[in-house]
């Protein structure tokens, strides 16, 4: 409350004292509301008593940014009353989780309040917000960014992190502080300005403080981590690497072991017009880094371990997504993009696009620290692990090929095949369940009826003997650019081992877009899921009903 008042005062005073600039003041913002109206659905087992009076879920926010010369300030109001299905019930609440003011010049930038920051790839520190997932770990504190000379950026941050609606109180959770420096050598070293080899180096240190009042363990109150990174460009090659190290950090996420943590992320890419290739390698060992060692679940992360496999966007290819395993994983990813040129036999009149992607993630190898200690035993060093060894235990494998082809001015087609291995026992916390081995194939055809009207059809199939068995999906979407869309879709779980669960998940959606305003309505069903990751188990209930999304930016 007091914060808000200050904020208001700041704005008023800035408009008063800076009369000359009043005309240069700018304001922009955005609003969004996602509403769901539920109804009972016998086939999905949704009864009136299950809905239990919670017939409506509403997630909404309003975001305002104010800029006056070098000064800017912003705020976001959020209301989850009640959160829509699939969101963490701890989201329920309303208020201003994001309030900030900043002053930025060429040499210095200062932010107070809530902010989002990332050091390098985020292996040590990344605060971000993802509305669709209900995730927000913003820092509430101060940030100073210095750019003393061209090519040098130094950042310092400190604060406490957002944890749903729980206020920060003394000792209630940890405090985070960090520094980062980045040097663009081509701009800082004399004689390198025009070099064709470009090198950027960076280093960071992050530390968290949390009091130790635990009666069982002797816990470190200050836990710090360090990272170094390099980005080297030479002609058509681009090499990027980042290594991070963290001292002992026993927590609920690693079952209170005292081992140090490490992670390495490396990529090498080559590209020229019409051709691109990238190889990425990753190793993660005990790198969960949260600003509260005691909490379970998906919150209060200081760092971000990126999953490096392809993020799929068709419904069935995205059915089994990979999530990073901060306690240990070793992965590689390879992607190739090639455009068969126009005018060749395979390229045709418009050229043909080919994308090939492979990724695999295995567990790391863990060895017991001594004969009497089990691997991962709480209150011990936990285990030792050879940095270059990968275990036989495969978490995830994805091989996929996609071909894009414009046939003529009226027709376009995409075909994709995906071969998937998904260790559901580890990735969804369903121990004992057999890993999912699936083939997925799809085609996406666009028919341009007139210059503004078109019809798009998707046909997808997922074949597997595990989990919920085979799925088929069809979708037809009619669009009138740039304002209207209508879509009909059905996902049919025809291969579910339980005959009663062979459901159709149909949806009908329509939407209207005017400039930066979008209104969309979806009527239909969503399937249920049980997820047991991050040390907690949560059920996402099936739902049925109407979803409304209104979004606007100004």
């Amino acid at each position: 409350m007091r914060k808000l008042f200050l904020f208001l005062l700041l704005i008023c005073s800035s408009s008063l004292f800076a009369q000359d600039f009043i005309n240069s003041a700018q304001i922009n913002g955005s609003f969004q509301v996602d509403g769901q109206f539920y109804r009972p659905d016998d086939a999905l087992g949704i009864t009136d008593s299950l809905i239990a009076g919670r017939k409506i879920g509403l997630n909404g926010y309003g975001n305002i940014t104010y800029t006056l010369g070098k000064f800017s300030a912003g705020m976001r109001y959020e209301a989850f009353l009640t959160p829509i299905a699939g969101f963490d019930p701890q989201q329920e609440g309303n208020g201003f989780p994001y309030l900030w003011a900043a002053y930025n010049t060429e040499k210095i930038g200062v932010t107070v309040g809530n902010f989002y920051e990332q050091f390098g790839n985020g292996l040590l520190l990344r605060t971000y917000e993802e509305w669709t997932l209900g995730y927000d770990n913003s820092l509430n504190g101060m940030r100073v960014v210095l750019r003393p000379t061209k090519g040098v950026t130094i950042k310092g941050v400190y604060g406490s992190q957002r944890y749903y609606w729980q206020k920060f109180e003394r000792n209630s959770r940890g405090i985070v502080r960090g520094v980062d420096a980045e040097f663009d050598l081509n701009e800082t070293v004399k004689g390198w300005e025009s070099s064709r080899v470009r090198l950027i180096l960076g280093a960071s240190g992050v530390s968290k403080y949390q009091r130790d009042a635990d009666p069982i363990y002797n816990l470190p109150e200050n836990v710090s981590g360090f990272a170094g990174r390099a980005n080297l460009m030479a002609g058509k090659f681009n090499f990027m690497t980042e290594y991070a190290y963290k001292i002992n950090d026993p927590s609920a996420a690693n079952n209170f072991i005292y081992k140090e943590g490490q992670s390495l992320l490396t990529s090498l890419s080559y590209s020229q017009k019409g051709f691109g290739a990238v190889l990425q390698l990753k190793r993660v060992d005990n790198m969960s880094f949260k600003s509260d060692r005691g909490i379970s679940g998906n919150a209060l992360d200081i760092n971000f371990i990126p999953p490096i496999n392809r993020t799929h966007s068709y419904s069935l290819t995205a059915r089994y997504p990979y999530a990073s395993q901060p306690n240990g994983e070793m992965g590689l990813q390879f992607q190739l993009n090639y455009k068969i040129p126009k005018g060749t036999a395979l390229g045709g009149k418009y050229g043909t696009g080919i994308a090939l992607n492979f990724s695999q993630v295995n567990d790391i190898v863990r060895k017991a620290v001594n004969d009497t200690t089990a691997i991962g035993q709480e209150g011990t060093l936990g285990y030792t692990s050879d940095f270059f060894a990968a275990s036989d235990h495969v978490f995830f494998r994805d091989f996929n090929v996609q071909i894009d082809k414009k046939i003529n001015s009226k027709w376009k087609a995409v075909v994709q095949y995906m071969n998937l291995y998904y260790d559901i026992a580890t990735l969804e916390g369903h121990p004992g369940e057999e890993a999912v081995k699936a083939h997925i194939a799809l085609t996406d055809i666009t028919w341009k009826i007139t210059s503004l009207k078109s019809l798009r059809m998707e046909l997808q199939g997922l074949w597997t003997e595990q989990d919920e068995g085979n799925w088929a999906a069809v979708m037809a979407e009619y669009t009138i650019a740039p304002k209207w869309f209508f879509a009909l879709a059905d996902q049919y779980n025809y291969g579910h081992p339980d005959k009663d669960m062979q459901n159709h998940y149909y949806t009908f959606s329509t939407g209207y877009i005017h400039d930066a305003t979008r209104i969309a309505l979806t009527y239909g069903r969503q399937s249920e899921g049980v997820v047991c990751v991050g040390g907690v188990c949560r059920q996402v209930p099936a739902s049925s009903g109407l979803t409304v999304t209104i979004t606007t930016s100004f």
């Binding site: 963490d88 019930p89 003393p148 000379t149 040098v152 130094i154 310092g156 944890y163 749903y164 609606w165 729980q166 206020k167 109180e169 209630s172 520094v179 240190g205 530390s207 403080y209 009042a213 635990d214 009666p215 069982i216 363990y217 002797n218 816990l219 470190p220 109150e221 200050n222 836990v223 710090s224 360090f226 002992n248 026993p250 927590s251 609920a252 079952n255 005292y258 060692r293 005691g294 909490i295 379970s296 679940g297 089990a374 991962g376 035993q377 709480e378 209150g379 011990t380 060093l381 026992a425 916390g429 369903h430 121990p431 369940e433 047991c532 040390g535 907690v536 188990c537 949560r538 059920q539």
Partner: protein
């Protein structure tokens, strides 16, 4: 200029390094034993919300047991089976450990994911729910406080009729504002039944066949929300004994040798538990 920048940064980093590293050397576990039996200290209630199909719950059970070893009688544990993961499903998970009181608390306090706990139902930063990694810290914060109320439980158990008579005597030790309820419940310790598990250091994955379920809530003796300690709208008189009597017949499924009565006094305003007491029924 450039050199200065590098120098400042190097200084900053090294200061940061030295100041902010706590490398812990073994032994990692503390040898903590609380001197037991100081009757004038507050007792703490730990509720462990769990379910037999919740694969991440066994480590929380381990934590509760460890804490009980540290705090002894000063810590009273109730394990509440409620919610989706406690729902009976296909054998061997077809036993129903849920109770009406447990279901009411589960939904009232908004517990959707498991494991979750509450420490004397006190809220911090606006939430009563505590993850098991924090239980020790929260309990440690309360354990040295002086008690504000005192509860004495007397039980008479007749084996032949399985009838259980309970008498509680509650005494407030100072002037208290607001109103307080007394809640009684029955717990059964050491029920052996299967439990799903995903932590190899606790037991076999994916199922521990002979898991020992500790301190399981079996029944709310006086409903889910208890009854007022002081009847009517009378003010609390410090030092006065407020007595309550209860009589129940023990369900034939319960093992009387493992049953205890737990009584706690809580504020009806914020549900915070002032004091808790536990007594084995046949002691």
């Amino acid at each position: 200029m450039k050199k200065t920048v590098f120098f400042i940064f190097a200084l900053f980093i090294s200061l940061f390094t030295i100041q902010s590293c706590d490398k812990i050397e073994p032994p990692y576990k503390e040898n903590n034993t609380i001197t037991p039996g100081e009757t004038n200290k507050r007792k703490v209630l730990l509720e462990d919300y769990t379910g037999h199909t919740c694969v991440n719950c066994p480590p929380a059970g381990v934590k509760a047991t460890e804490l009980k070893e540290v705090y002894g009688d000063q810590l009273v544990i109730i394990t509440v089976h409620a919610g989706y993961f406690a729902t009976p499903v296909a054998a061997p998970f077809d036993t129903d450990f849920r109770t009406e009181a447990g279901n009411d608390w589960n939904s009232f306090f908004g517990i959707i994911s498991n494991p979750k706990g509450m420490v004397s139902r006190l809220s911090e930063g606006g939430s009563q729910l505590v993850d098991y990694g924090e239980w020790g810290t929260r309990i440690g914060n309360l354990i040295d406080e002086d008690e504000l109320a005192n509860i004495a439980i007397e039980t008479t158990y007749t084996e032949s009729s399985r009838s259980l008579q309970i008498k509680t005597s509650t005494k407030f030790l100072q002037e208290m504002q607001g109103s307080y309820n007394i809640q009684l419940c029955l717990t059964e310790d050491s029920i052996v039944a299967p439990q799903r598990n995903n932590t190899a250091t606790v037991g076999p994955v994916p199922t521990i066949e002979n898991y020992v379920h500790r301190h399981v809530l079996r029944q709310g003796i006086n409903g889910s929300w208890g009854e007022p300690v002081v009847s009517g709208n009378n003010a609390i008189v410090p030092g006065q004994l407020y007595e309550h009597n209860f009589s129940i017949t023990l369900n034939s499924d319960f093992n009387a040798n493992h049953c205890s009565v737990v009584a706690f006094v809580y504020s009806t305003a914020d549900y915070g538990v002032l004091q808790v007491e536990e007594k084995h029924i046949s002691e």
